[in-house]
Every structure is written in structure tokens, then in C-alpha cells.
């Protein structure tokens, strides 16, 4: 059958589809002009120490995640937002300077690199302190994301000193089940590596945060809920914050490849609600549980019937900010809830998910 020209992912005989997808999404080395522009920035509601606040979010354009080049995670297409080569110290500095023009003193700053902030191939070592000190005296908390293999106590400590505030280090744990992580997400490290990295963050004086992926490919809706609830329980003693990210479809990923063939549906909002309610009950006391879905209420993100979506997503945001999950147990119902339940009853009757 014909498919849209240029969007078809070749399944090479030698390697996996995941490998072919990874090769396909990596951009060609960027020009100096590209390297001076950050990918994106925005502000979003957050909570800090129990109080509502606004977070300033910046995505830097760097070389990007090395793992995305080698194998790549099945849901991650951030490699498309990279430079295709390492950025120089000057280039990183210029991106940050441009972003600072937009910065209005938000107390919570989140910096992402489509990879690992602590990987020197992405952010040159001298740039780290420069970035942190740029927010000194303005931001109370700086969040950076990284793979566990790049975390050590000293990194965190140095960053903390440069900022003079709190450092939060987020890790894409995705699932606390080793097999799910390895076979469905295609991560390069087992959950234990993430737990150990979280301990190093704490020893360095930082606050560890983990992302959990709701509904990696190959899992049924029910299996996905159970995986994330279990992950919340297992991870909550290692991390201060757990953020549930329902899969949204990014270009150049295995999940999108499956979605195009009718073999994947992003999770239902009802599943996210159930996961949050059960996860909140099962987590270690004091661990923050949040979810701020990307592309919620859209066919390419977490969605229901598209008519009840908005109300549910606001309730989820409210619960994430207030840490009161009671209201999620008293949501108004929708006829699509029955469809969601039926899907969970029927999906396991086929040997493979679709």
C-alpha cells in the first residue's frame, strides 16, 4: 500500500525499526546561525514549596542525547530539536543570553537540552556554571534534565553553588520495571541505575525528580496503568517528585511508526486519572506526584472522546499543583468511560496490542 511519501520508515533487514527511526531523525550538522538560537521557551504554572508559581522553561539547542543516536527510546523524538553536532561554549552562551532577554524573574527555571545537561558533549563544562550564575539571585530553583550515567555529586554541588539556590535534577526513569524499560521503552540503563543516580543527586544537595511514561508501546491500556502505578510505588522513595508523562506522539519515533499503522493509541485521560489516584495512594508520603501532559486532548496525545477532555485535564493540572487528588475521584462521568472500560476488557483478548 502506498504511504505518504517521505514519511515511511524503512525497516532495515539488518537492524531494528527503532534503529532505522533513530538514523532517520538525526538532523544534519547545523550552521552557526542555528547554533545561536535556542529551540523554544515558555512559561507554565508550577508549584514551589507548596505555593503556586510560574516556571520559565528553556530548551537549548545542543548535540542532543547520545542514546538517541545509538538506539533511542521508542517515544522520544527530541533528537529532531538538536544541532546535529556539539555546540561551542560561545554558541551555548549566546542561546542563554537571548533567552535571558525573555526572562522576567520567574522563581522556577527549567532548562532542557533534548538530552543530558551533564553530558559535556551537549553542554560544555564551563557553560554549566555560567548558565546557573545567570539566574543567581533571581531563581529559587533550577531544574536540569540528564541521563543517570552523567550524574555525580560534584556536578550537582557545583551547579548549586553557581546558582545559590535549589537544584532539581530530573531523570527520565519512565518505568520502574526493568523489562518494560528495556524491551518497550528501549532505555540503556535499568531502573536501579536511576535510583542510584537519584541518591547521588541527594548527596550532592539536589532534589531528584523522575518522569514516568504512561503507556509505552506494546502494553495494553490496562498493563500501562498497572506499570505506572507500580512504578510510582517503587520510585517514590528514591525521588522527591514523580511526574507522569502520558505518551504523546513525536515525529521520528517508534510509537509514531506504530500509530501510523493503527497499532498504537496514546493513553486515555481516564487511565491517567486512575494512575494518579492510585499512585497518590501508594506513593511514599511526601513525594510529589504531578502530571502536566503535552498535547492533552489531542489525538496525538493523551485523550478521551475529545469532548470531556478539557475538564478532566484542568482537574489533573489542579490536582498536580495542589497535591489534593480527592477531586479526581469525584469527576463527572462521560459515556466514553464505558468505552474505555470495554477497551480494557477486550484488548487482552488479542495476543498483540494495537
Amino acid at each position: 500500500m502506498s504511504t505518504e511519501a517521505g514519511t515511511e520508515t524503512p525497516a532495515t533487514s539488518s537492524g531494528s525499526v527503532a534503529r532505522a527511526v533513530a538514523q532517520d531523525r538525526r538532523p544534519a550538522p547545523g550552521s552557526p546561525q542555528d547554533a545561536r538560537r535556542y529551540v523554544n521557551l515558555w512559561r507554565e504554572p508550577e508549584a514551589l514549596g507548596g505555593e503556586r508559581t510560574t516556571a520559565f522553561v528553556l530548551i537549548l539547542r545542543t548535540r542532543g542525547c547520545y542514546w538517541a543516536d545509538l538506539k533511542g527510546c521508542t517515544m522520544c523524538g527530541y533528537a529532531r530539536d538538536t544541532l546535529g553536532r556539539s555546540a561551542t561554549e560561545e554558541e551555548v552562551a549566546e542561546q542563554v543570553d537571548r533567552a535571558l532577554l525573555e526572562y522576567r524573574g520567574e522563581p522556577y527555571v527549567k532548562i532542557f537540552t533534548s538530552g543530558s545537561f551533564f553530558d559535556e558533549r551537549e553542554v560544555p563544562l564551563p557553560s554549566r556554571a555560567r548558565i546557573a550564575s545567570a539566574f543567581q539571585g533571581k531563581a529559587r530553583r533550577l531544574l536540569v534534565e540528564t541521563l543517570p550515567e552523567f550524574v555525580d555529586e560534584a556536578n550537582v554541588k557545583a551547579l548549586k553553588e553557581a546558582l545559590g539556590g535549589e537544584i532539581e535534577v530530573s531523570l527520565g526513569l519512565e518505568s520502574a520495571q526493568e523489562e518494560v524499560l528495556r524491551r518497550a521503552v528501549n532505555k540503556n540503563s535499568p531502573p536501579s541505575a536511576y535510583f542510584e543516580a537519584a541518591a547521588r543527586v541527594r548527596r550532592g544537595g539536589g532534589s531528584p525528580k523522575a518522569y514516568l511514561l504512561l503507556k509505552p508501546p506494546y502494553l495494553t491500556e490496562r498493563e500501562a496503568i498497572e506499570d505506572t502505578v507500580l512504578s510510582v510505588r517503587l520510585a517514590s522513595e528514591h525521588f522527591d517528585t514523580l511526574s507522569i508523562n502520558p505518551v504523546h506522539l513525536q515525529g521520528g519515533t517508534v510509537v509514531e511508526h506504530l500509530f501510523r499503522r493503527g497499532l498504537y493509541r496514546p493513553p486515555w485521560i481516564w487511565s491517567l486519572v486512575e494512575t494518579l489516584v492510585r499512585g497518590a495512594a501508594e506513593r511514599k508520603k511526601g513525594t510529589r506526584l504531578v502530571s502536566f501532559p503535552t498535547s492533552g486532548g489531542n489525538r496525538r496525545g493523551v485523550h478521551n472522546c475529545l469532548s470531556c477532555d478539557r475538564a478532566l485535564l484542568s482537574a489533573i493540572e489542579e490536582a498536580s499543583l495542589s497535591q489534593d487528588f480527592g477531586p479526581l475521584e469525584r469527576l463527572p462521568t462521560c459515556p466514553c468511560q464505558e468505552r474505555w472500560r470495554l477497551e480494557q476488557a477486550l484488548e487482552p483478548l488479542a495476543p498483540e496490542t494495537t
Binding site: 500500500m1 477486550l346 498483540e352
Partner: protein
């Protein structure tokens, strides 16, 4: 494992056994989601249930029938991540899961293994691409062979059942129908797509029950059609509500043509309605057209090609129109040299002597007088072949010009007489034109073969043999001064020593060999032989375990020569397609007609060999 009652194309009517289950085939697994009320199922059906897996990324399913159950346990496959060679997935004893396209190692495993059930794990993924689905369904069956059942999970709705079974899939399930129902679709095969018909106010449970009824009634219909050898008609009738089904059938008739042809009998009875355009590409039709182009040569003494329209009555020669034409041209000198060719859709041109060959006397089509490009192409191809391979000196076209103007470039009216006046081939004027054209053509005298009218009958019967067996074997059968005896509807072929070699009956349209006939043609009989396993005593019919090897060209209804160590053991009629013969575990394979005297018993050499362990049954 499948036990055959009868087959219809690649569809298998019979029984399948796996674990303690005995499933009626074609079979359906009734999805029984957790918490749903129990379904009342007919004997031979089974429930499909979810079981708790043993942990990790594993799943478990149960097929349950009465008190019997078969549990399937398996790891969830993540092929896009894993890459590399995929092996078969062990799911239960003698049950494997396969993903298509099959890897080399999966192919090897599937060819060697003795499996009762093969689960086509990614059938639903393949279904999203019609061409791929057809290609891979065929690949899976050809590699797995005829013995195991194949289950294609979560693709069937009631309206799709007939087509999916026709592809050679044995087991389907009702899961997809429940999904569609949850989305509000109305699936009864007879009123599919009429969404307003969804029972307002009916609960899901009630609708689920109604849906199970829809599956059951369609399944019953599939079985009735398949037992009658007419499943294809139901397939065509079910195309309308879903263009996808049209795609799948077109690919099945295209890339699946050889696979279908292998499973299509060489004989048939009754009248087949070729009502839809899809019917014009049925495998028996494609085979007739191809054999005409590859195996057929007009008898050399035919000097005048007479093209006439086909008729609704079959064989055409018995129709009122053809009889009137025949009557009008009686008395034309050298009349035996006239070769009638009936112009027809969808067969192209049917030479008179092939009119009894299936399906030439077994079809009916809608007739409007307008021919589409495909239909014209088939006629033009056949005409070109006849003109090139025949020894015609004249051609006379007794076809209405208005309707057949598209043949004028091949049959220019200034050179070739077109003898129909107005639209009627049987008007007095048309028949008079025809008679005078033939008289004129034959006025200068027509050379015939030496030997007179009998020699011409022999030529015609020989060309039937060529069409049936291919030229080398037919030529061998007719060489060395054979003699014919009999009637126009029943002929015997004798050797000069008065040994009976073969018989031909008009109502079958095929030659049937005797043991001496088989001996005579054996050296050229590539495509007709079944090698009988050493030690097997041929007392009656030949059953599956007695087959050592069979020519893959054999079709159901074909004449079979039973051979062992180069000796003819007997002759008979194939009851399963050649490709199945060496790979079926049980069942009748060849209906034996004659056994060789002194053969069939274990010979001296055979007796010394131990009998095969699988204890062949040969008693008929």
C-alpha cells in the same frame, strides 16, 4: 491439526484438534471478556478468554470448550525494538505464534515442526495493508503446510468472515466485532453499516449477544457455501459494505492467483454465476484463459475459423442459436474443417472441443452487449493465439458488427467476411450470408487430414488431452497408431494391441487414464504423479500417510498416476491439491480407479523394509 471433510479453494471444512479441543472448521473463537455473562455456544465452537499471566511482559489467553481448555502463555513481542531474526513463539505444546513476514529461521522451524495451531500474531497489523495481508496469509499457509490450523486474531467482523476463510485462515474470533460494536457500528452481515439500526436503549450485554448471533449465522452460511464448493460467491456478495474487502479480494486474485489456482478443482458441476466484475477473475477462469494460451493449439485440419457468440445454454453446441447456425451450414463442403470458436466473457474464445472443459459449461454472466477493456483484451489475446498457432486458411466472423467493432482491426471486414446482418445471428439473412461465405471459402476445395472424419475426431480429442495434460503427455498418449471407439459423448482410446488406454466423457470433459495408458505416458507425466511410500499396500484408495511425494501441479479432479520405484501401481483422481499431498497427516488423497494387476501389494523389495512408523492406512 486439521482433518479434512472437504475443501473449497484454500478454505478447509472439517475439524481441527489442539490440546483437548475439537473445533469445527472453519472455526470461530467467541470473545468472552472478563466479567461478561457466559455465552451459549454450539458444539465445535470455543470461547476466547483472558488469563492472568505469570508475570513480567507476558500475556495469557485461554481457548475453552466445555470442560476442556487450552492455555496459551507467551512473552509480549517488541519487534521494532528487538530487530534481528525472529523465531517462532512457543505458546503451548504444538502451538506457536508467528509474525509475518516470516524470518528465515521461523520459516525453517515452521516447515519442520508438527504444529496443531499457528497463531498469526500480527495479523491485525498486516490487515492495515491489504496487499501485505494477502501476501503474508499465503506465505504463512504455504510454509506451515495444510496440517496446522491458522488463527488470525482480531481481524474478523461478521461480514469479513467469508473472505478471511477463503484466504485459508481456519480460526477467527469475535473480538474486533465487539470493539466495533462499542464504537456504535452495526455489524449484522445483512445490514452492515446501517448505523441507525443499532438497538437504541439496548445494553452492551444485549448487543453483545446479538453480535454473537450475527457471527454464528454468518459462520453457518460460510459453512454451507464452502460445503457446496461455492464460498467464492458469498465472498463476492459480502464485498459491498467495506472497500477494504474489495482490495483484499483483488490482491488475492492478483498476487494470490497461483495460490488460489493450486487449490481450485479442475472439474466442477452446476452453473456458477459470474455476476460481479470480481467474478471474472476467479481462479478457474484465469486458469482456462492461461491454458488456452499456453497449452492449446487448434487441430491442424481445421482450415476455417468460425467465430460465433457464446450462448446462455451450455455447452454452447447444444444451444438453440448454435444449432440453428449448424443447421444452416450443413452441406458446406469440407464442413469438418470448420473450427467453431465461441467469443465469450470471461473466457475469451472457447474452441468447440473445449466446451465441456470446466468452467466452459458451468458459468453464467450478465449480458449487455457492452464489453469492457479487460473482457475485450481476453478475447483479443485468445484470437491472436488461435491465429498464430492454427492452420487456418479462412476466417468467418458470425458476430454482430455493432457489438464487436473492437475486433475489426484484427478481423478487417474488407478481408474477412462479417456475416451477421443487423443484430441477429440467427435471422434468415444472417444465416444465408454465413452459408454463402463458407461455401465461397470452401469452393476451391478443402484439404483434410488423411483418414477422413474419424481422424478429425481424434484431433479434437487430442487437443482436449493437450489442454488437460499439456502437450508432451498428450502427444505421448496419442502416438503409435492409437484407435478410438465410442460415441460423440463417450470415447475409448485403444492401443494397436486393443489395450484400453483412456476414456473420455463429455459430461466431465476430461480424459481418464487406465493402467496401461498410465504406463504409456509415465515418462512424460510430469504433473500427474503421486509416489507411493515403500511398504504401503494399495488395497483401495490412497490416504495421506501413503504419499511419499506428489507432483505439485496436481489439482483436485486431476487424473493421478500412482507410482513406486518407476512402476505404475494404479490410477485415480486427486481429492486434494498436489501441494498438500505429502504434507497432510491424514485423509483421502487419491480416489483410486484402477490398480495394476500384481502391483499394489508390497513387493519383494518393499516387504523387506520395515513399515513406516505412522502406520499408513490404505484401505478404502
Amino acid at each position: 491439526m486439521r482433518s479434512l471433510l472437504r475443501s473449497d479453494g484454500a478454505a478447509f471444512v472439517g475439524e481441527g484438534t489442539v490440546g483437548g479441543l475439537r473445533l469445527a472448521l472453519p472455526g470461530l473463537l467467541f470473545a468472552s471478556p472478563r466479567g461478561s455473562p457466559p455465552l451459549e455456544l454450539p458444539p465445535g465452537a470455543a470461547r476466547l478468554e483472558e488469563r492472568d499471566p505469570s508475570g513480567g511482559m507476558r500475556r495469557a489467553l485461554r481457548l475453552a470448550q466445555g470442560t476442556e481448555a487450552l492455555d496459551l502463555q507467551f512473552a509480549v513481542a517488541t519487534p521494532e525494538v528487538a530487530g534481528g531474526e525472529e523465531a517462532l513463539l512457543e505458546m503451548a505444546p504444538r502451538v506457536v505464534g508467528a509474525r509475518t513476514p516470516l524470518s528465515a529461521s521461523a520459516q525453517a522451524q515452521l516447515r519442520q515442526g508438527a504444529y496443531d495451531l499457528v497463531v498469526w500474531l500480527n495479523a491485525r497489523a498486516a490487515w492495515t495493508d491489504s496487499e501485505r495481508f494477502v501476501r503474508e496469509a499465503i506465505e504463512l499457509r504455504e510454509v506451515a503446510g495444510p496440517a496446522p490450523m491458522i488463527w488470525a486474531p482480531r481481524v474478523a467482523t461478521p461480514g469479513r468472515l467469508s473472505e478471511l476463510y477463503a484466504l485459508g485462515l481456519d480460526l477467527l474470533d469475535s473480538t474486533e466485532g465487539l470493539f466495533a460494536m462499542a464504537d456504535g457500528a452495526f455489524l449484522s452481515a445483512d445490514a452492515e453499516g446501517l448505523e441507525e439500526a443499532v438497538g437504541e436503549g439496548r445494553t452492551l450485554v444485549e448487543r453483545g449477544k446479538a453480535l454473537a448471533g450475527d457471527y454464528l449465522s454468518e459462520l453457518a452460511l460460510v459453512r454451507r457455501y464452502a460445503r457446496a464448493g461455492r464460498l467464492r460467491e458469498l465472498v463476492e456478495a459480502r464485498l459491498v459494505p467495506e472497500p477494504k474487502r474489495g482490495e483484499v479480494l483483488r490482491y488475492f486474485d492478483g498476487i494470490g492467483g497461483p495460490f488460489q489456482e493450486a487449490h481450485t478443482p479442475i472439474v466442477g458441476s452446476g452453473t456458477r454465476p459470474y455476476t460481479t466484475k470480481e467474478a471474472l477473475r476467479r481462479p478457474e477462469v484465469e486458469r482456462f484463459r492461461r491454458r488456452l494460451l499456453t497449452r492449446y493449439r487448434p487441430p491442424p485440419s481445421k482450415r476455417t475459423l468460425l467465430l460465433v457468440p457464446c450462448s446462455m445454454t451450455k455447452p454452447y453446441a447444444n444451444s438453440p442459436s448454435h444449432r440453428r447456425i449448424a443447421h444452416a451450414i450443413e452441406g458446406v463442403p469440407g464442413g469438418m474443417g470448420i473450427h467453431w470458436g465461441s467469443v465469450t466473457s470471461p473466457l475469451g474464445i472457447v474452441p468447440r472441443e473445449l466446451e465441456s472443459f470446466y468452467p466452459a459449461r458451468n458459468y453464467d454472466i450478465p449480458v449487455t452487449g457492452s464489453w469492457d477493456e479487460d473482457e475485450r483484451g481476453w478475447v483479443r489475446e485468445a484470437l491472436g493465439h488461435l491465429q498464430r498457432s492454427g492452420s487456418y486458411e479462412h476466417t468467418v466472423v458470425h458476430l454482430p458488427r455493432e457489438e464487436y467493432r473492437w475486433l475489426e482491426d484484427l478481423l478487417p471486414p474488407e478481408k474477412v467476411p462479417w456475416t451477421v446482418e443487423g443484430g441477429s445471428t440467427t435471422s434468415g439473412a444472417s444465416l444465408a450470408h454465413l452459408a454463402s461465405a463458407l461455401h465461397a471459402a470452401h469452393a476451391s476445395g478443402v484439404r483434410g487430414p488423411p483418414g477422413g472424419p474419424l481422424a478429425r475426431v481424434r484431433e479434437e480429442l487430442r487437443s482436449i488431452a493437450q489442454f488437460q495434460f499439456g502437450a508432451p503427455m498428450a502427444d505421448r498418449l496419442f502416438e503409435d497408431g492409437v484407435r478410438l471407439m465410442g460415441r460423440p459423448w463417450f470415447q475409448h482410446l485403444f492401443s494397436p494391441a486393443k489395450e484400453d488406454l483412456a476414456t473420455w466423457r463429455e459430461e466431465v470433459g476430461l480424459w481418464r487414464l487406465t493402467v496401461p495408458g498410465a504406463r504409456k505416458v509415465l515418462a512424460e507425466a510430469r504433473g500427474s504423479r503421486v509416489q507411493v511410500r515403500p511398504g504401503v499396500e494399495l488395497r483401495g484408495d490412497l490416504f495421506a500417510p501413503g504419499v511419499l511425494e506428489a507432483d505439485p501441479e496436481l489439482r483436485i479432479g486431476d487424473d493421478v498416476i500412482l507410482v513406486r520405484n518407476g512402476e505404475v501401481l494404479g490410477v485415480g483422481e486427486a481429492r486434494v491439491p498436489g501441494p498438500w499431498m505429502g504434507r497432510l497427516p491424514r485423509g483421502l488423497v487419491v480416489k483410486v480407479r484402477h490398480r495394476a494387476h500384481g502391483e499394489g501389494r508390497a513387493g519383494a523389495t518393499d516387504a523387506s523394509e520395515p513399515a513406516p512408523a505412522d502406520a499408513p492406512r490404505t484401505a478404502g
